[in-house]
């Protein structure tokens, strides 16, 4: 009986773990559909986690924290877009730069604000949720699933979505058809950053309740794997994110039951590896993914 309860608990708390990965994945899908690859979402998750904790620490408001995290993500997404789209920087290097800078600045921030380089104090408060039996599900998780559905609708059922995908498939053709490739691409990186930012805020305020250094712990990269797994489609991404969330939740729960802490912590990463290998050949990336576009 204890067994069953434990599994039920894991299945429900997987929803929580799934949320930041899902949001980051949707953001990255939108970004990549426009032809830009942003490996900096790992850093965006981290930076926005920090921004959200710092803001709610000073303001005492969780909601303001979420807002600040989202905003930080938007800014970083726009900054990345500026480099990748207008300055035609190497997208991988620009993304890695965001990751490294985020790590450095958040550690610096930890020390500057709290005089501590490991973790912030716990933030007080609770984000809105609703209950299923004895478990609770955060409202933001539902929002994330809703965003997945809306993003699918946006990408595959609206004219703007069609134009955005055209930028990722054949920017020259899109341009010749009167689609402003530059604008679409920077809008996509900004929107992508915004969603990752919301994910980072959720990670810090809902899942952890504190900011710890390097707390994104590869979630951004898991999201990148999930993008390919889902075939650049937000709907399967929900399933993929849930699988990853489940592996994280299971690792956490089992660790309390049986020990082997370090070994179990590798579950989500092993899962990522497995899925990446298994799906490598299945889906096709946007044709011009990662290629800067210049009209002349």
């Amino acid at each position: 009986m204890v067994e069953a309860e434990l599994w039920l608990f894991v299945l429900i708390s997987s929803l929580s773990y799934m949320t930041p990965i899902l949001l980051a994945t949707i953001g990255e899908i939108i970004t990549e559909r426009s032809g830009i690859v942003n490996v900096g979402i790992e850093g965006i998750l981290l930076s926005s986690a920090f921004a959200s904790v710092a803001t709610s620490f000073f303001s005492g408001s969780m909601l303001l924290g979420v807002l600040a995290g989202t905003l930080a993500g938007a800014l970083l997404g726009a900054l990345f877009g500026l480099f990748a789209v207008y300055l035609r920087a190497d997208q991988i290097i620009a993304g890695l730069a965001i990751n490294m800078a985020s790590y450095g600045f958040t550690v610096l921030g930890l020390i500057a604000i709290w005089g501590h380089h490991g973790a912030s104090p716990r933030v007080e408060g609770q984000l809105p949720y609703f209950s299923i039996g004895q478990s609770t599900v955060p409202l933001l998780t539902l929002l994330a699933i809703l965003i997945a559905v809306l993003s699918w609708f946006f990408l595959f059922r609206t004219r703007t979505g069609l134009a955005l995908r055209a930028c990722g498939e054949e920017p020259r053709a899109a341009d010749a058809m009167g689609v402003n490739t530059y604008r679409y691409r920077i809008a996509a990186t900004t929107l992508g950053g915004t969603l990752a930012g919301l994910g980072g805020a959720f990670l810090a305020l809902e899942i952890a309740g504190v900011f710890t250094r390097g707390m994104s712990a590869g979630m951004g990269f898991i999201a990148l794997a999930n993008v390919a797994f889902s075939g650049w489609n937000p709907l399967p991404a929900v399933f993929g994110a849930y699988v990853f969330g489940f592996l994280s939740a299971a690792a956490d729960a089992l660790q309390q039951e049986v020990g082997y802490a370090y070994l179990l912590k590798t579950l989500p990463y092993l899962g990522t590896l497995a899925i990446t290998v298994l799906t490598a050949r299945r889906s096709r990336a946007p044709l011009r993914l990662g290629v800067p576009y210049a009209r002349e």
């Binding site: 069609l162 053709a173 341009d175 058809m177 009167g178 402003n180 009209r295 002349e296």
Partner: protein, 496 residues
């Protein structure tokens, strides 16, 4: 009367310093087909991209119906009724035709999707340019893609349609259909700029012709008042001496035998479906066929770059099926691929490219002997007149024509028995193209040549025999030199 379009003193300097246009003046009258004639690199595409708002001129003025305009994007040009069909098309390949039409039309004026499709059907039926709206563009033939593009222009109410080298990817039959369509649309008050380097097409379709040479307008004429020879002279700037093939003696023993060869392309599409052919020493065998008939896969198999699914390749009687590129080279195969990106390492220097795949001949032990490599590079650039600033500059910095000369030159300078030349003269001006053709003919003394080219005049002129491929099968064989363009064209279209 005010001309429909008037471009005055257009100069274009690209970001990298290339001066593509030097004060060009061009006029298009209402209801005419105006040919824009010039060699590769003359600036035709640049001039038209400026008119279409894709590029901004460095200097110069543009008037549409007498009004000064300065387009900042194709959208603005489309609003003035100008549309352009690019040489390589500008459709999103993974989208359906309907998606493409919808996207293009709605970027100029709001319209519901159903309405776009309805009008496309109605217009297509009226003009006989039906295109399957639900098919993905990448599944269409070049001719279909072009119709989709023209349909797109018409949906945008274009009154001026720019066609950039419109027949370059078409079968001869499709090309003829296109010329018919142009005449039909002309009758409905659509004006055309017809960009080409083919004199014959100018004579067939155009009312007036403007000749561009090295970025300058060297004359505008009524087509009826100027001969092909005069146009050729203006276009090139000199009389062109054409290679005349001297009949070779009787061909020697069989050098290459290909038997029942079948292969797929990278996407897994079956491209070769059992091809059998042979090449004798002393022969040039031409391969003709519309793009995608299997010629690329054939060349790649012979170069060792692709494994056949079935069939045999014998070279001098020895079975070499499935050997690696290195082993094929050892066996005497020289390969100049269709794409310069494949044949050259563009980020490496001229010297490095000159010895690519033959490094061994310029090494002592494990170290390269760069002196001897430079020597080879110098031979190539001198013999093939490659224009460069430094032997150690990156090949990417060369213009397309010079890259082509370097790539073909490297192969022709190498030891070998069988030359596989895929589009050997693409991007070359008439004079260098003739030079390369002369060298190809000369190669017969050393062995044999398999010539794959979409330039039918070239194939007819150089080949002793022509093998025609259609959808991965040999559909016919002609004697070269007999100039039966008509018959060749029919075979290429699959008509037996």
């Amino acid at each position: 009367m005010v001309p429909l379009v008037s471009m005055k003193g257009i100069t274009k300097v690209y970001a990298d310093g290339t001066v593509a246009l030097r004060g060009v003046t061009f006029e298009l009258a209402e209801g005419e087909v105006h040919a824009l004639l010039g060699e590769n690199g003359a600036g035709k595409t640049t001039l038209m991209r400026i008119l279409y708002g894709e590029l901004r001129p460095t200097a110069g003025e543009i008037f549409v119906r007498g009004q000064s305009v300065a387009f900042r994007s194709p959208q603005e040009a489309m609003r003035r009724g100008i549309a352009m069909v690019h040489q390589n098309f500008s459709l999103v390949p993974s989208f359906t035709v309907a998606d493409n039409l919808y996207l293009a039309v709605t970027s100029v004026k709001p319209m519901r999707r159903g309405e776009v499709e309805g009008r496309a059907r109605e217009l297509g039926a009226r003009l006989g340019i039906e295109v399957p709206l639900e098919a993905r563009v990448e599944q269409l033939s070049a001719g279909m893609k072009q119709r989709a593009e023209i349909l797109k222009s018409l949906l945008l109410d274009a009154k001026i349609i720019i066609l950039d080298e419109p027949t370059s990817l078409l079968t001869p039959l499709e090309a003829r259909a296109l010329l018919g369509l142009i005449k039909e649309l002309k009758a409905q008050q659509v004006s055309f700029v017809y960009v080409t380097h083919k004199l014959r097409e100018v004579k067939e379709v155009a009312d007036r012709v403007t000749v561009l040479r090295k970025g300058a307008n060297v004359g505008t004429f009524q087509v009826s008042e100027v001969s092909e020879a005069e146009m050729a002279k203006l276009m090139v700037g000199a009389e062109v001496e054409r290679v005349r093939r001297s009949r070779s003696g009787a061909p020697g023993e069989v050098l290459l035998e290909v038997e029942d060869l079948a292969a797929r392309d990278d996407m897994g599409v079956e491209r070769l479906k059992g091809v059998t052919l042979s090449v004798r020493r002393g022969e040039v065998v031409g391969i003709a066929g519309v793009q995608g008939s299997g010629q690329k896969e054939l060349a790649e198999i012979l170069a060792g770059l692709r494994r056949p699914e079935r069939g045999k390749v014998r070279l001098g009687g020895v079975d070499v099926t499935g050997r690696s590129p290195r082993e094929m080279r050892r066996a005497g195969v020289l390969y100049s691929p269709e794409s310069r990106e494949e044949g050259l390492a563009l980020e490496m220097s001229l010297v490095e490219n000159s010895v690519l795949a033959r490094q061994g001949e310029h090494a002592s032990g494990v170290t390269m002997n760069w002196k001897s490599a430079e020597e080879r590079a110098r031979q190539i650039v001198e013999r093939f007149r490659v224009v460069f600033t430094d032997l150690w500059e990156r090949a990417r910095n060369l213009s397309g024509g010079n890259q082509q000369r370097l790539m073909v030159g490297r192969e022709l300078e190498s030891e070998g028995l069988l030359l596989i030349a895929h589009e050997p003269t693409q991007g070359l001006d008439v004079v260098s193209a003739e030079k390369v053709r002369g060298e190809i003919l000369r190669f017969r003394e050393r062995g044999a040549v398999l010539l794959i080219s979409s330039d039918l005049d070239e194939v007819l002129e150089l080949s002793d025999r022509i093998v025609v491929l259609f959808e991965g099968r040999v559909v016919g064989e002609l004697k070269g030199g007999e100039s039966d363009l008509e018959r060749l064209a029919k075979l290429m279209g699959g008509a037996l």
